[in-house]
Amino acid sequence: MPLRLTSRSALGLILPLLLALAWEIAVRSGHAAGRLLPPPTRIWTTLSALARSGDLWPHVAATAGRVGLGFGFGAGAGLVTGLAASWSPLLRRLIDPTLQGLRAVPSLAWVPLFLLWLGIFETAKIALIAVGVFFPVYLGVIGAVLGIDRKIIEVGRIYRLTPLRLARRILLPAILPSLLVALRTGLGLGWMFVVAAEYMGASEGIGYLLVDGQQLGKPDQIIAAILVFALLGKLADGLLVALFKPFLRWQDSYRGG
């Protein structure tokens, strides 16, 4: 029998809640030290103290701002480059091998180079995030455009659509679902890259809280920061999906639910 959405979410929460409860009991009863992995209540206390004192929000704003700007530049560049490369086979043959080579570089390997070129402040961080976001969006756009059903394009030809109209009325709606997937992937990577960027030298941000927690021996702060990252990432992803939702209504019933 199909479960309702709320029942399905509730089932998913059972395991983490049980584990949290078990750990809480273990620490309280003295069976576990709770030094390296604090019990949930202590993590919660740390987090709410940060929030109430107002200290949390500048960090959230700093991190979210970096991700936002980096995503904007990276996704924008990925979109434009991807569209250009799918439009012109010559261009694709020219730039794709180079881009694939650059893509093979592990993300963290860029950090020392960017720090050297762009300094230790915001530019280097945003550039790092933009690089991380660029590749999945670029690849996703090319895949989406090259995967468009030729038969649908022929419908546009039959109705003598100008290239601009063809792009607007057929190409764009056709790639929108895959584009959303590419953007969500890029955004996810953006959050990953911001951790790397803030880890390597920041005076504020959720990643800074991570480093600070490690250096001062505050595991509850580390885990609190991890939870904030998870929450922010989920919110950002939800926002992106919500932005695209009005244009993807036609897919809803297609998935059967």
């Binding site: 038969k151 022929e154 039959i158 109705y159 709606p173 036609w250 019933s253 297609y254």
Partner: protein, 257 residues
């Protein structure tokens, strides 16, 4: 009177190393006539239709629609493919109105509603294409092709992907639809019965290279009765000439009854 459609010495080849796909087609179709082109797979009948539609150009010879040389898709030509090819992100009504974008909104909506009513899909106007059955989707494709009031309607095996019952139903439906504006109709099919139910004239095409093998007028009274003995006789005659088209070329150009 000017023929609606005229093909003179039309040949088509994709690769000079291989035999001609079409080897010299001469064909004249009268205004308002219904012509069926019948042939086995690979005889070039779909290629021929694409040349008439302007999706492809002949290697030599010319295609004239309403006296004008075809250089590309033409507003006077409507086309229905084997698959409905509805745009998944548009509702059924929006799909039907697709070719009317240059008209004012209320005009295109009125004509779209009229076309939907004629194919019996008024109730599905707001539905998504994936919610339609195969027969419904093909009816929507028909409505989309007819809503622009083409002078020439081309159909490339429009019902071959449907089950036998739906096929017979849509064949009858097509005749009703044709009755409104009486466009010139060119139907490509491998279904002998379909050709005889719909057409005034049937042309058989031979493969390698594609050439017109036989031409015969269908003199059965309308509405065509599939169960009438004369229909069966016509079927046998057509099947015989079709089988003849599958063997080396014969001296006779058309069959006397």
């Amino acid at each position: 009177m000017l023929p609606s459609l005229l093909l003179r010495g039309v040949t088509k080849t994709y690769d000079p190393a291989f035999p001609l796909v079409l080897g010299g087609i001469d064909l004249a179709v009268r205004q308002g006539e219904m012509l069926a082109i019948v042939g086995g797979s690979g005889c070039g009948k779909s290629t021929l239709l694409r040349l008439i539609a302007g999706l492809d150009s002949p290697s030599s010879g010319e295609v004239l629609v309403e006296g004008e040389c075809v250089r590309g898709p033409h507003p006077a030509i409507g086309l229905v493919f084997q698959e409905p090819r509805l745009l998944p992100w548009l509702s059924v009504a929006q799909n039907v109105e697709f070719g009317l974008q240059d008209l004012p909104r209320d005009e295109s909506e009125r004509r779209g509603a009229e076309a939907l009513d004629r194919v019996g899909l008024t109730a599905q106007a707001a539905a998504w294409p994936h919610q339609l059955s195969g027969g419904q989707a093909q009816r929507a494709a028909l409505a989309r092709a007819l809503v622009t009031r083409p002078k020439v309607l081309l159909l490339d095996e429009p019902f071959s992907a449907l089950d036998a019952l739906t096929r017979a139903d849509l064949q009858d439906h097509l005749l009703d639809l044709w009755g409104f504006d009486r466009p010139t109709l060119v139907l490509v099919t491998h279904d002998i019965e379909e050709a005889l139910v719909l057409a005034d004239r049937v042309v058989t095409l031979r493969a390698h290279p594609g050439r017109i093998e036989t031409e015969q007028e269908v003199t059965l009274p309308r509405p065509r009765d599939r169960d009438h003995p004369a229909f069966e006789v016509a079927k046998r005659r057509l099947r015989a000439s079709l089988n003849g088209a599958l063997t080396p070329p014969q001296a006779a150009r058309s069959l006397a009854s």
